[in-house]
Amino acid sequence: MMRLVLLLIAIAALTPSAGYAQGVDVGEQLLARGASAAFADAVADLVATARGEGLPTDPIADKAFEGWAKRAFVAPERVLTVLAELATRLRAGRDATVTAGLDPPPGSVVAAAAEALGRGLTADQVRAVIEAAPAPEVAAVGLLTASALAAQGLETAAAVKAVEDAYRSGRPPEEVLELPSAVAGLLAQGLVPADVARHILEGGQILIPVTPARGPITDLPRPPKRPRRR
């Protein structure tokens, strides 16, 4: 009996709270991480305002944690400015999502739309990805994939078309997330993003590999091998 009680006490002491990242107020989490009360309150106010507008608040909280983690070289005032800009982008993402026909818009799709807008996609391109998705709940997958492809250096038009083609290929929707890996493999083989983008826009395909270890499959011609230096 005594050993059981001691074991339960030890487990209670060592087990982190399951609600730490989800259920607890973002201000409290920042305070727990050592942030000043003024900074935590300012972030909590931004989150409360976003929540009042029906925007997803997790991206704001996540960015606040990132800013606080980088406090050695990022001033709190700068973090608050970035959070306000993110809230503005979330509003634009919500508008694009609603325009695409998702009303009320799922929070995950709004967050992904905001991310895509931040990576250079236009509102029309965001709507195109959402409308190409086979179901509303997987539209976020396509938006994040297009965002990643754009970050890899592809033209946004090519990034959007690659996602649309993948959706229309009939494969499981979440497999579009393999596209950045496929493009990374092509870039590792010596292609440049412009080559990949042009191939996509001209109707070529970036086929999702069956297994990542075997590398990407494409009908793109392989670049000539460079002669070895001696």
Binding site: P16, Q22, V74, A111, P173, E175, P180, A184, T211
Partner: protein
């Protein structure tokens, strides 16, 4: 204490011993005292057998009567087998790590994608960075709330390459390596590097259902 009015023989008489040398007055006084004591004793109420049973019940089962709080605050000697204690510690750490990882993976802020209602599916993603000469490398990103202390990498001293394998749900993540707690550096093998909004770069990977291919 000795009462000076009584001789020692009178005291012996009061104690019930046979004596002959006390006076008649002393004998009469002693008899009255004895009668008074006997009369007082007859007036006392003698406890019944139920009181004995109640007292014996308390004495025979002390543990049952002791409160949990008294037991909880009292000192105890605990016998511990080191092997069992080590196994218990390992189990607790594994359990807490699982709960912690589930907590972060379950957050929408990690940009994970839950499809087909299968939110617990994860793939193992290996992170590595070459950083010879540093004392400590950790991994911070949107998958762990940017906690720069939670995920430590292990060094291969022969090559200076630090690695860690992390279970992640399919989705897109931003992250950085942290060297010696103060140098934040991107991952050159990530899918992309993006502006973090603070004037630096974050690394980006898109984790598919089958994992990640890096450049």
């Amino acid at each position: 204490m000795t009462d000076e009015r009584f001789s020692s023989d009178t005291h012996r008489y009061l104690d019930g011993e046979p004596v002959d040398l006390i006076t008649d007055d002393e004998r009469a006084l002693a008899d009255r005292l004895n009668e008074a004591v006997a009369s007082y004793a007859r007036g006392l109420e003698v406890p019944g057998p139920e009181v004995d049973r109640a007292v014996m019940a308390v004495i025979s089962s002390p543990a049952r009567r002791r409160s949990f709080w008294r037991w909880f605050v009292a000192s105890h000697v605990v016998m511990v087998r080191p092997a069992l204690a080590a196994a218990a510690v390992i189990a607790i750490i594994a359990f807490s790590s699982l709960v912690s990882m589930r907590t972060f993976i379950g957050s929408e802020s990690a940009r994970e994608i839950a499809t087909s209602g299968d939110s617990l599916r994860t793939v193992l993603v290996r992170f590595e960075v070459r950083a010879p000469g540093v004392q400590r490398v950790t991994l911070a990103g949107s998958f762990n709330g940017w906690d720069a202390t939670a995920i430590g990498l292990t060094e291969n001293r022969a090559t200076g390459v630090w690695t860690v394998t992390v279970p992640l749900a399919p989705g897109e993540y931003q992250y950085l390596f942290v060297l010696d707690d103060d140098r934040w550096i991107p991952d050159p093998t990530a899918h992309a590097q993006v502006d973090d909004g603070f004037g630096q770069l974050n690394s980006v990977i898109a984790v598919g259902p089958r994992g990640v291919v890096r450049s």
